[in-house]
Symmetry: C2
Subunit: 362 residues, 2 copies
């Protein structure tokens, strides 16, 4: 058996990372089961307060003694608060708010100082709780933060959507890169260019990144089974990060309607939208996406738009109305199953082992 630098580095049995999905999906049960069955569980902590994060880590530690990771959103350099964009967005959202009998326009738009403060406190929690692995999305943390984490031997994972982004992440000292293909569900992790230039399919992205950097690469986007795992390894990745596949698992905290929407969808229905958060993200098509379609380019940037739509998403979720929820999913949603984490990981590895033999044919 040859060595795999990634599994050795992360001290996991199988090169399968449960993607850090924010917004309540990554329950302690989901994360613990992923880590307990040979993968790497990950807390999607982007929207967690430092206190919430610490509590979840405590809970998680009662459920697993294996390595796990915490994922954080890197704050933007600047928040573009364009008054006219906000007014326009509120006008568009108002009829939907009324439909849900939501009284008022959200006023609590976050400011950069608060976001930075939260991020620094999240980092403090990661260090104090001795989290072994910390991953980042939406950019590059400051040199100070990277140096501090390295001092505590935290393994650092960055997220890239292009070769340029991967090179930048390697330069600042990341230990591993997640490359996110255009197939991926949820938010795009691009931070240098936006739009089409950062929508690269994994068939193209993995080998090009692997050729240009020397640290291990994890592939993310549309990977659901042993075929995706083996395909990614052949393309040069050392492991895979799976989101949608874990989201529909029993242990995931995703809304029942979200899981059902994925289980009933096909590859054409997972579309890109900025309407929920101000950042491009892939999710199952619904009324909200189609009603906002013509205004995609005009919404305020993340996290402003995300705050503006928050009460709607919450109300929709409470009222079991999937037409106004963000139903994040990748382009392989059709391959999702409702099973336990243990069953998912066992199946993927079994399928992969079988494929190793079968692909020899031509």
């Amino acid at each position: 058996m040859l060595k795999n630098r990634l599994t050795e580095l992360l001290r996991i049995k199988y090169p399968i990372i449960q993607a850090p999905m924010a917004g309540g999906v990554t329950t302690s049960d989901l994360v613990a089961e992923a880590s307990n069955h040979g993968g790497l569980g990950s807390i999607g902590a982007g929207y967690l307060s430092p206190v919430q994060l610490r509590n979840q880590i405590h809970e998680l530690k009662t459920k697993t003694t294996n390595p796990f990771s915490v994922n954080l959103f890197v704050p933007p350099n600047v928040i573009n608060m364009k008054e006219n964009e906000i007014i326009k967005a509120n006008q568009l959202l108002q009829p939907i708010r009324e439909q849900f009998q939501l009284s008022d326009v959200t006023s609590d738009i976050p400011n950069l100082a608060d976001i930075m403060k939260t991020f620094e406190e999240q980092i403090k929690v990661v260090i104090e709780e001795e989290v072994p692995i910390c991953s980042f999305t939406f950019g590059i943390p400051t040199t100070e933060i990277i140096m501090e984490l390295k001092q505590y031997n935290t393994i650092l994972i960055g997220t890239a959507t292009t070769v340029t982004e991967a090179i930048e992440l390697e330069k600042v000292g990341m230990d591993v890169i997640v490359v996110q293909g255009c197939e991926a569900g949820g938010h795009r992790g691009n931070f240098i260019k936006s739009g089409e230039e950062s929508l690269i399919g994994l068939m193209s992205l993995i080998p090009q990144v692997v050729d240009q950097i020397s640290i291990p690469v994890i592939a993310a986007g549309g990977i659901m089974d042993g075929r995706g795992l083996m395909g990614s390894l052949c393309l040069g990745a050392k492991g895979v990060q799976m989101g949608t596949a874990f989201l529909t698992c029993e242990e995931s905290g995703a809304h029942r309607l979200h899981k059902e929407a994925i289980l009933q969808s096909n590859e054409e229905q997972a579309v890109l939208t900025r309407a929920f958060s101000g950042k491009w993200a892939r999710g199952i098509h619904n009324k909200f996406i189609s009603e906002m379609k013509d205004y995609e380019e005009q919404f305020p940037e993340f996290p402003v738009q995300n705050t503006l739509t928050q009460s709607i998403r919450k109300a929709a979720s409470k009222q079991y109305n999937k037409e106004y929820m963000s139903l994040w999913a990748g382009q392989s949603a059709r391959l999702a199953r409702n099973e336990t984490v243990e069953s998912l990981i066992t199946r993927v590895i079994k399928e992969a082992s079988k494929i190793i033999e079968e692909t020899k044919a031509w």
Copy 2:
């Protein structure tokens, strides 16, 4: 060694198809070398007159006795001749025509009857010349044509960009399906839905199609080397179709500037545009694409826009001005090399054989 249904059916040694690129790329040397070295050479006959097609087949037969294929464009059901779109497009193109000192607006817009007639004559040539394999892009030929070709034992290959398209193609009797991922260079082969719904990455598309149909699948889009071949086989494809990788080969008829543009580009530069032909297609970004960017949705449909830009593309090509040529390329253009077809195929197979051993590690 296990059996591969695709190589047996096509009577080729390796599951590598040289993509049928139209517009002069697929010289008889390129096609013959691909077939002579264990792959399947393909004539991109979409823009060839029946006489030109017959002549190329005759020439090809002096260079190889191995199987090869001919690719044809399925005519549209209707040509949308919207006068206002044509006027608008001509206004946009006029300054560029003047820049190239082209005297007149193209008047020779094709009509559907002529296109149908040409297509039927191309089919006649395929039958009379006993072409063993015929592939189709842009749709589904009529039942009559399919039945006629089957009577002569022609193996039929259809092109799909979604599961729905693949299912339709299997239903009408295709023997093999090429699935084109969003990574692919050149024209999109979608024929049921256009736009985002048909831009699926191969990591997602291959397994979903394979699960839904029973005939062999060939993966196309961003595949450049042994990694792409093995990745595709793991995902469930029985072979790969490579375009950009063959386009930069010595034997290819692509313009020198086109080859150079690919060899110097990266994954962010191969963008989608409708400006050249009226059909979405992926090519290296240049001045023409950026000048037309804001009008993407307004151009007349293929083949009308293609006719309107023809003189510009020809003049640009003659004058070695790559800014106004269609520089089709996939998202893996960075991995292209300038080598012979023999060297390309040998390298891909060598790389693939090595990967089979290496991917066992985790």
